[in-house]
Symmetry: C2
Subunit: 527 residues, 2 copies
């Protein structure tokens, strides 16, 4: 029997089996799954009333909240597509994304409305703006509006599993953000595999730290719901408040990027917090150093689960939980293993291919590109067939992440493809060079990029942010780096800056840095 894999299944199960259980805690508000479903039904009716039909795009500019969570299911019942927006963009970015996505209704948090207000006149397709937690001119008040619709069971739009569930924009680390189309099937199968590897159960209480707008909170609105877990909303990164909530709600699991976890760790060290219940931390976004993993596991007693993914693949496809058959000598080796990118989740093939499409040897040093073959993979980039066919080739999605793979089959990302420097035919990992520079006590931030060179094609160049009133010269840095790096990897030139350009999620935009060095030379960039 064919039953389409549709994401509303997950809410249905929670309502059937966990109807009376607390589903969402958002500040003072605590709602059961039954209560959430009623709001979801109202929302779906409201959307239909706003003329939203199957395939239409509905945008959300909302932090983690009850409103954001119910948005997913409210939209899916109508067959429409969730377009959740990063809350840390600029007005022009919103203008671009809202028009590009052809969003028709925009839900926006009152605090964030000022980011959209300046461009409202230029929105081409948005015909309705609904504001949450406040009021503004020409905006509908969400809560008032919601309550005008019945909470009875909603007559759902029939869907097939290949219908699109979400249109999410990438972080824009390597260029303009791209719109990623993900189907119900992709998200559903991602959920089934991920809940298994993360060992999610109805005993879990999740603190939603990772924003749900960001690659769908790594699918968290789906699989925690399917399992009937309680979900506590964390609107802002506020380490003090997070630690209080971990205690208060006996949080068992959280998802976050290493930078955020680092803030939490520091706060916990500062307040000498002690936790006496088990907690799992799921970490992705960039590679966490082994020393950091040990600190989290030893000082906080939290289990560190390192995963890897990208918007284009729903997003998670690997974990580095040491496998049963991997020899681990000691705690140090254990942490080094966990710091790797890891190996494929069930249901997904993840490989590292060299230029000719062959798998690289498992030697821990030959670099190739991570490629993914899986139902997790997007249907394509919205209105961008060129980018789609450059990324998905012969049934594999090419991630743009360069990695090595060790004897035990654990991958390890060495750099983004676009950031690798190809100098005299040698690959130089910008991350490796940066790591060496970061060890210098006077260097606060460093970004290493390729710049054009007559003889070598490209050579490494470092953009440095010095510590305030540090007295640091190019010569100092070269001397320091010589101790750590092979000659050809040492930056051949330097520039100093007050800060580095970053994406909303805090990733350094090397694409911006490179631009000025390549003006007129674009054709010669090797990557």
């Amino acid at each position: 029997m064919h039953v389409p894999l549709i994401l509303t299944d997950f809410l249905d199960r929670a309502v059937t089996l966990y109807g009376d259980k607390t589903a969402v805690i958002d500040g003072d508000r605590e709602l059961t799954y039954q209560e959430v479903e009623k709001r979801v039904n109202r929302l779906s009716r409201g959307l239909r009333d706003s003329n939203i039909k199957k395939g239409d795009k509905v945008a959300y500019l909302t932090p983690n909240s009850l409103e954001m969570y119910e948005g997913f299911y409210g939209i899916y019942q109508t067959g429409a597509v969730m377009t959740s927006l990063n809350t840390r963009l600029r007005p022009d970015d919103y203008l671009f994304i809202l028009n590009h996505s052809e969003s028709q209704v925009l839900f926006v948090d009152a605090e964030l409305y000022p980011l959209v207000e300046p461009v409202r006149d230029k929105l081409e397709t948005v015909h309705t703006v609904i504001i949450q937690g406040g009021q503004a001119k020409e905006c509908i008040d969400y809560e008032d509006w919601l309550m005008t619709f019945s909470d009875e069971l909603f007559d759902r739009e029939p869907l097939e599993e290949n219908d699109i569930a979400s249109l999410l924009y990438t972080s824009g680390t390597t260029g303009d953000p791209k719109g990623v189309l993900l189907s119900h099937r992709s998200n559903y199968l991602h959920a089934l595999a991920t809940m298994h590897h993360l060992r999610v159960s109805d005993r879990d209480t999740l603190l939603h730290v990772l924003p749900m707008f960001h690659v769908n909170g790594w699918g968290s609105p789906f699989y925690y719901t399917a399992n009937g877990a309680t979900q506590v909303m964390q609107r802002k990164v506020d380490p003090k408040q997070m630690l209080e909530r971990i205690e208060k709600y006996q949080i068992t699991i959280m998802h976050m990027a290493p930078t955020v976890l680092n803030m939490v760790l520091q706060e916990a060290q500062h307040t000498k917090s002690v936790f006496d219940h088990p907690l799992r931390i799921v970490v992705a976004g960039s590679a966490p150093p082994p020393a950091f993993i040990r600190k989290v596991e030893e000082e906080l007693g939290w289990e560190f689960i390192h995963v890897y993914g990208m918007t284009e693949i729903s997003p998670l496809v690997t974990t580095s939980q040491p496998r049963e058959n991997t020899p681990v000598e000691d705690e140090g080796a254990f942490a080094r293993l966990k710091a790797k990118t890891g190996y494929e989740l069930i249901g997904t093939k993840v490989r590292v291919f060299d230029e000719s499409g062959e798998e690289v040897p498992h030697d821990g040093k030959t670099i190739g590109e991570i490629a993914v073959r899986s139902n997790n993979v997007m249907e394509g980039y919205y209105k961008n067939p060129e980018a789609t066919s450059a990324t998905i080739r012969d049934g594999w999605l090419y991630t743009g992440d360069m990695a090595v793979i060790d004897e035990q089959g654990y991958m390890e990302i060495v750099d983004r493809k676009k950031d690798v420097i190809i100098s005299g035919g040698e690959n130089i990992s910008s991350i490796e060079v940066e790591a060496a520079l970061y060890d210098h006590p006077d260097i606060m931030e460093a970004a290493v990029i390729a710049v054009p060179h007559e003889k070598w094609g490209e050579v490494p160049h470092a953009v440095i942010v010095k510590r305030a009133d540090a007295d640091l010269t190019e010569e100092d840095i070269v001397a320091f780096a010589s101790e750590k790096l092979a000659r050809f990897k040492i930056p051949k030139s330097f520039s100093f800056a007050d800060e580095l350009p970053k994406t909303a999620s805090g990733k350094i935009q090397k694409v911006v840095l490179r631009k000025e060095f390549w003006k007129g030379n674009e054709g010669k960039m090797i990557n």
Copy 2:
């Protein structure tokens, strides 16, 4: 991206990530996943050499063994269909199934070949018989044959996920065995959900007790492989040997029917065995009594996981692990909860419908039929469209199992639909009446069936197997039963027998018992 859900994915993952790990232990033979894959490749080549093509049926009459396990993947690589046969049938049954399924190649264990030999002449489609672990006239020796083919990677038949993976025959408890067609998609999605609920991981070592021929060992050849677990083969039910192996291999999980577990429990009590490592027992087939569950959990320290399913649904669809939101007062209540049939797994809808297709109230007493809507559900009965459309109606599979559902949403099977006795408009659960009779010390076995009655339509009749040299009359039984049962539930007539007719898997065939009472009256049977 659409990637068909094909079962060979699971072996691929195990070979990639657990290639050097022990995959299968069968007596003295221990093979890694890489070694198993090589044999699987040989087997696929052998099948192709025997002219097996996509969609062809390949039969196995084999106990749990390396040969049985590798059969699944060897067949799937060629796109053919696994038809695994119950090892406890009679020659005529094999004749029926082999011809009905149109099997072309038969793999048979040397010990079981005598069951097929008598009907070999009458096999209409089987052109090749390959014998495992022995020799016989006109049979190919498996191991010799296998070794003639290369173990190189096999060029797999391209498949879509809706292609059929297995054709399994039901137990024949309620009539003739029926051929159930299950697709790759059904088995794959069943595997993803089941591994999650059973918390399968690469730390597991499974003792394959439940026969893989029987509803595919509840999918065990698939999800233990996907997780890279070690799989120890148990050819026969031998409680002593099983206990030794649990210790020797540090078994962490087993699947079996309550009757088999009861034998293991008795042996363990007898030998005063103590186990100091955690072990989960997954139990289905019939409802285990709460007292039995407590014994297993308390005396053996094993975690009891009660699940429910049927051949037609891949097979598992519920579990009765007490949910986080279910109040449990004490150990007794805990065991009573676990004894219930439970609630739906993720990805499956399971409901109890009354005659008019409405859900029964959650009152623990209104009886309805369990229905399942899920991708687990079969494509249909092979060459039996009438039975298919009687079973699958309006997108639901009707299980023929009658159940009540309690306030907390836990289902509990009260009887098979065909076994319920409808007397004067009242439903009588044959299981309830039998349970009351079983309490009599002189009654060894009892089967309660409906017989025709002028006034009430049907009344309960009991077929009794007395303990040897017990002195027991109808009057004694009626007096005894009156203490425990409402008047209308007490059997109105009795017969005594030396034994009861049973299926190969030990279920009582009430259909056989009923026959003689209904001769000439068949049209009046209410069910």
